[in-house]
Each structure stands twice: as C-alpha cells, then as structure tokens.
Subunit: 234 residues, 2 copies
C-alpha cells in the first residue's frame, strides 16, 4: 500500500500503526412477529461476553465497500438479498472490543421474518423481542438503541415499514407494527384515514383468512408511487 500523503500529522507514530485498526459492520436486523418488534441476535462466543446476545457482524474485507459488507452479512445469515438497509452510525470507542481496536459501522435492516426459516437452523441465532433485551455483548446495546431510535424517526415520514410485512397485510397488522415500533397506541380511525390520504396502500379486494374474528381487507404497498426503496446486492 502506498504512503498516504494527505495526512501530515503522523507525529510520533509510524505509518504502520495507522493500519492496526480493524473495521467491522454490525447489522441490526429488525423483524416483526406476534405483534412485537424483534431483532436477530446470536449467542456471543468470545469469553469476555460468553452467553450474551450480540448483533450479526463481521470484519470488512479490504476490497469490499461498507454497504456490500452489510449485504453480505445479511445474505449469509438470512438468505435474503433484497432488503432495506440503512447506515446509522459508527462506533469507535478505543476499548469497545476486547480483541483490539475494532471500529464498527452500524446498519439497520428490515426483513419479513416469514421469508426465511431456512438459515435459522443455526440454533445460536434467534429472533429476540427488542423490548426484552436488557444486556448485550460489546457495546451492542448502545448500537441497538441508536438503530431503534433511527428507525423510529424514519418510519414517521418514510414508507419503510412494508419491508417488515408480508406482501399482503391488513390495516390492523400495519397499525400494530407502527405501535410496536413507536411503542405507543394509535387511534384506529385516524390511522386508517391517514393512510388512505397518503395513498401508500393498494386495496387488493381480498379478505384475511383464518383469523378468529371478522376478517379485514388486505392491502399491498403502493410501490408504483415510489421508486424502489430496497437495493439489490451488487
């Protein structure tokens, strides 16, 4: 690797030291199930945090973009390659990783849990209700909180929650999802009115099935009104 001439403040440190920093990405993969917002976590296998949950992450390869690294992790872990992904924040506290200086860039992504039972055979991997996690390995609790906060801001005026739902869904499911994310109760009539106004939904003229009560109408996301919000892995 060539010398980096742009930086003139090397001071007493040798060039080499500047490359003794590793970079990782961590994915906060959100899902929605049983009326709860969940996050995909894995049992931590390093001794300092044995048994605690951690996020899914990996080191960034030297020839790999940050975004590509997150897509790779998602693909490896969920089998999905058409997901919503957004960079949130980079965590670089000196002591954050016991193995050395590892700086991590956090992403959150939104997937439909039902789309991939497959890779979940790995029994160290599981969907955990976001509200029921109190402790995690590393600084992953802070990362999770940062991503959850970002998600909350995002859903208020961007049509991203549809990534968490199946293709067809009822208004009840949609409202319940918003309530789970924002952790508040919403007025059903105002909620419906608002969504019809915004024209984010397409009425499928179908009804729910197998529900233990009067079935509601099914809708899909009005994708045509927006450009594609998810990107394919390159």
């Amino acid at each position: 690797m060539k010398q980096i001439s742009r930086f003139s403040h090397f001071g007493e440190l040798s060039d080499k030291d500047y490359f003794r920093i590793a970079l990782s990405v961590d994915c906060v993969i959100f899902g929605f199930e049983d009326g709860e917002l969940k996050v995909l976590v894995i049992k931590c296998n390093i001794k300092e945090y044995k048994g605690l949950w951690s996020l899914l992450g990996d080191l960034v390869r030297p020839d790999e973009d940050l975004d590509s690294a997150s897509y790779r992790i998602l693909k490896e872990r969920t089998g999905l390659d058409d997901v919503y992904l957004e960079q949130v924040q980079t965590f670089g506290q000196v002591g954050r990783h016991p193995a050395g200086r590892v700086i991590t860039t956090a992403y959150f992504s939104l997937v439909n849990i039902k789309d991939h039972q497959l890779k979940l055979s790995d029994n160290e991997l599981h969907w955990h209700p976001v509200n029921e996690i109190a402790e995690m390995a590393f600084d992953h609790m802070e990362i999770l909180k940062g991503c959850l906060e970002r998600l909350r801001e995002k859903v208020i005026d961007h049509p991203v929650v549809f990534n968490l739902l199946p293709k067809k869904f009822s208004l009840r499911e949609l409202q319940s999802l918003y309530e789970a994310i924002l952790n508040i109760k919403l007025d059903r009539r105002n909620f419906r009115k608002k969504f019809f106004m915004m024209d984010w939904l397409v009425d499928l003229e179908e009804l729910e099935e197998d529900v233990p009560h009067r079935p509601g109408k099914l809708y899909k996301f009005n994708q045509a009104k927006f450009g594609r919000k998810t990107k394919k892995i390159s």
Copy 2:
C-alpha cells in the same frame, strides 16, 4: 494485537489483511458570514486532486476515539475547543482514496467564524460559501452534501444554530441564518412569533450598534432552558 475470535468468516484472507484499512475523520466545519453559510476548506496537496478544495481531516490514531479525533482536528485548525460536533456518516467506497483503503467518518461542526481569525493565517485554509462549491477533492462533495442535509434536518427542531452566531445577535441575523441554511425565504412576523413562543431567546435589553438603519434588539440563546449542547474535548 490479539486475534479477533468473534469473526469467523475470514475465508481466504489472512488476519493481517484486515488491518490494511486506515480510518480517518473528516470535519465539515460550518460558519456564517456576510449572510452566507460557509465551510472551512483547505487546498488539496495530493497530486490526483491538486488545487481542489478538501475538507479538514486526519487519520484516527490507534489509541484515539473517533469523537476525540474530530475534536483534535477542530482544535488544531480553529483553536476552538468548545464547539458543536455531530457524527453524520461513514464513507467506505473501496476506491475513494487514491493512496489506498481509507475509510472516513464525517462530522459536521458549527463555529462562530469571528471567534478565531488566528489559525487562518495559513493561506491554504479558507471559508468558502457552501453554495459556491461545485467540485472538491476525493468524495468530499458527497460528504459535504450529506452533512448539509443533516444540518438542515437538525435545525428544524433543535437549537443548534446559535453555535454559528456571536453571543449577542439580532432577530434579523438569526432569520438570515436560517434562510441561508435552508435556502428559503421566511416570513419575518411568523419567524419572530415562533421564536418567542419557543422561548429559545433571552432579550438582552440592548440594541444593535453600527448598523446603517434602525437598530434591532439583541438577544442571546436561552442556554438555561437546555442542557449544554456542546461538549468539551476530553
């Protein structure tokens, strides 16, 4: 540095390769002068981008937090150590730096230009109107745009613009600042009403001096209403 056991997907790459990534921070330092939003830039000295403006940045030291690195750059360049600083985004495209794999975390900060003529003797360093920059070195144009966008979102409901103004300012200066940031015209009466409502201002019972027209009242930011928004360098 110990082996990093958390990451199991090293594949065909040796551990050493994972540390051939350098990390930098770049600061988008905003100021406000002559009714314009400006950014502190420096002439680029590497051959690929000779003569173009670039942001102020430096490599992160192995024993240095990301935030500390930005504070250090700010302190070195402006002499200020009590500034607003916010992390925005990390840019990690493989080819973004001609010297090798350098990933950079972008911060924006808000300073009062008048507070430091000092270090500006360096004539390669200068305040450039944000609206008049069309091209920059590296991917710095993209970084600038990202930070400007974040700033615009931020000022809408957070009291951060005061960091760009002197201690005492008139409502006209304040409005002109918002107009410069958001690139829109605002209604003077509604603007005043809104600020008095929000109780963000303290009337200093003083008048402007040396203005070529009827002097306006001076105000200061109602700091007591909020916690300190800036942090001291540690």
